[in-house]
């Protein structure tokens, strides 16, 4: 804990006092608990509603809990196939993004050349362009190429959308390698290939790890492109959730699918955050 209440001088009053003394942090803690916590608790509660003992108007909490909703979703919907598709798609596009990013990130991080800034901006464009615009008109392009409604088409599309995270984190890691170390290795006679294997690669491992987790999650969460290019042949967890939230609105089913989608992602992100001890989420989005 780095939080310790500090008092600077005894003559501060009003807001300054409130900020440093006890009640404002408490209020903020309470407020954020309600604003963040209540929606999540409600979703968990909805996923555990007992169909024999329904949850309705005057009850603040379900009268009894059961796993019946989970059993229902796994038995009668396409969720299992969607989970498999989602994770296959995420793994394939993360791998492809890694293979494409490795040489590019190496060049951006280790060499000076003209047009570097333009390249950086270009690599971030897929994150900034409206997702449905890319989805709809990529689907038209894929239509002419016979890639619409195919798994390879989905992998190619997902790779386009997740590549910015991988490229950004990897080139930042390459840039962070101190010049002295690579110069020292050169002085000792190491070739560029040997330096790459024995110095750069171990040093950028955390960046690769972070990039892989971010791209994997971005692909798992991707909705618009999969919805346009994949449905109805290929369903992923987000497209199933979208169905339960729109035409086939079933709150309990939606709650189960929402948890299936969010829990692994949140766990992965917190693990990565801890492992890296750096705000890599911020470094991926922040310095645009």
């Amino acid at each position: 804990m780095n939080g310790r209440v500090t008092f600077r001088g005894g003559r501060r009053h009003g807001l300054g006092q409130a900020i440093r003394s006890g009640w404002l942090p408490l209020l903020l803690l309470f407020g954020s608990l309600i604003i963040i916590g209540v929606p999540i608790v409600m979703a968990v509660a909805w996923s555990l509603v007992d169909p024999d003992n329904p949850w309705s108007f005057p009850d603040v909490f379900p009268p009894s809990l059961s796993l019946a909703q989970w059993q229902y979703v796994f038995k009668y919907t396409d969720i299992v196939r969607a989970i498999v598709t989602s994770y296959e798609l995420a793994a394939a596009s993360t791998l492809l993004a890694f293979v494409l990013s490795l040489p590019t990130a190496y060049a951006i991080g280790r060499f000076d050349f003209r047009g570097k800034e333009a390249i950086r901006i270009l690599l971030l464009l897929p994150l900034v362009l409206p997702g449905l615009v890319v989805a709809l008109f990529l689907s038209r392009v894929f239509g002419f190429m016979g890639l619409a409604q195919t798994f390879p088409g989905l992998v190619l599309g997902h790779t386009l959308l997740v590549l910015p995270y991988m490229a950004r984190l990897m080139s930042t890691s390459f840039e962070a390698i101190p010049r002295d170390i690579s110069d020292a290795a050169s002085n000792l006679g190491a070739s560029e290939l040997r330096k790459f294997r024995e110095i750069y690669l171990p040093m950028i491992m955390p960046g690769i790890f972070a990039g892989a987790i971010l791209t994997f999650i971005a692909s798992l969460e991707e909705f618009a492109l999969t919805f346009v290019i994949g449905t109805p042949d290929y369903q992923t967890i987000p497209t199933i959730l979208f169905g339960f939230l729109t035409q086939h609105f079933v709150r309990t089913n939606a709650a189960v699918v929402a948890l299936i989608l969010m829990v692994p992602n949140v766990v992965m992100l917190f693990i990565a955050d801890r492992a890296l001890r750096a705000d890599f989420v911020a470094s991926a989005y922040g310095k645009l």
Partner: protein, 284 residues
């Protein structure tokens, strides 16, 4: 290695990721442009010209445009308004800071669809918010907060989802403001508000602009959240584009909406950046 050989090697190394993105984006943008002037139409009878644009620019498109623009402005600027006090406060050290800042980051880790579902539960007709307000006798009958004409449901979902992102960027730029600068201003007699106005605000403006622009673009082109909680009419720009293209095979008009969306986003980004520069000059 010769200088020329070196340049060629760098070019080859840069190519994979850059070429991939450039190729696909160029394909998407060219396809959009060509379709908006009549190429590749569904009926395969190509009439090149501005016919599609003439058909597109009617009252319905205008309604969608104004609706999406309003929600995007309200979400991005409203989010900034809420993010500033939080980011400023998180500069201090206090008990429980770690827990609070971790809690506030949770929505950042959630997919938009999940965020929409979580807030939808809270705001539904017999949701906990309406029931609480009823129990406190603040309202007499439940409020309609989803699929409402003003897009309140969408606005709340977007702010809930994007606030952590805006706060994070602001916290990052505010942390970079040297404490000495603030101390110097205080020594010269500046109060808390003056320190904010003349030191912290101008120096954190680039971060604020980045956050606002990114949220604006995301909300302007939103399809999913509006499908889940948006008004029945008008549809958001993205929903209208999807319906025109996918349901009615009016790809030319859909392409027109795509172009309108992207140009609006670009104009907004440029205007805001200009405005920020001007503000800094006026304040500083």
């Amino acid at each position: 290695m010769t200088k020329r050989g070196h340049r060629l090697a760098v070019l080859l190394l840069v190519f994979p990721a850059v070429g991939y993105v450039a190729l696909f984006l160029a394909a998407v943008l060219i396809m959009t442009l060509l379709q908006s002037v009549g190429f590749f139409s569904f009926t395969a009878t190509t009439t090149i010209g501005l016919d599609e644009w003439a058909k597109l620019l009617d009252g319905q498109t205008w309604d969608s445009f104004i609706y999406s623009l309003r929600i995007a402005l309200a979400s991005s600027l409203g989010g900034l308004f809420l993010a500033y006090p939080i980011a400023l406060y998180l500069r201090n050290n206090f008990r429980g800071k770690t827990i609070i800042s971790n809690l506030l980051r949770v929505p950042l880790f959630l997919p938009a669809l999940v965020a929409a579902f979580l807030i939808l539960n809270i705001m539904s007709f017999h949701g906990i918010l309406n029931e609480t307000l009823l129990a406190l006798r603040i309202i007499k009958e439940p409020l309609r907060m989803l699929h409402d004409d003003q897009g309140i449901g969408v606005l709340v979902i977007q702010i809930w989802k994007n606030l952590p992102f805006q706060t994070l960027i602001l916290t990052a730029v505010l942390t970079n403001v040297p404490r000495e600068l603030e101390a110097a201003a205080r020594n010269l007699g500046a109060g808390s508000f003056s320190v904010f106005r003349f030191v912290l605000f101008p120096l954190s403006l680039p971060g604020a602009v980045t956050g606002v622009v990114l949220v604006f673009i995301g909300v302007l082109g939103d399809f999913a959240v509006n499908s889940i909680a948006g008004p029945l009419y008008p549809p958001s720009l993205a929903i209208r584009m999807y319906l025109l293209g996918h349901a009615f095979s009016e790809w030319g008009q859909a392409a027109g909406i795509a172009i309108i969306t992207m140009v609006t986003a670009l104009v907004f980004a440029v205007l805001l950046a200009r405005l920020a520069k001007l503000t800094v000059r006026l304040v500083g």
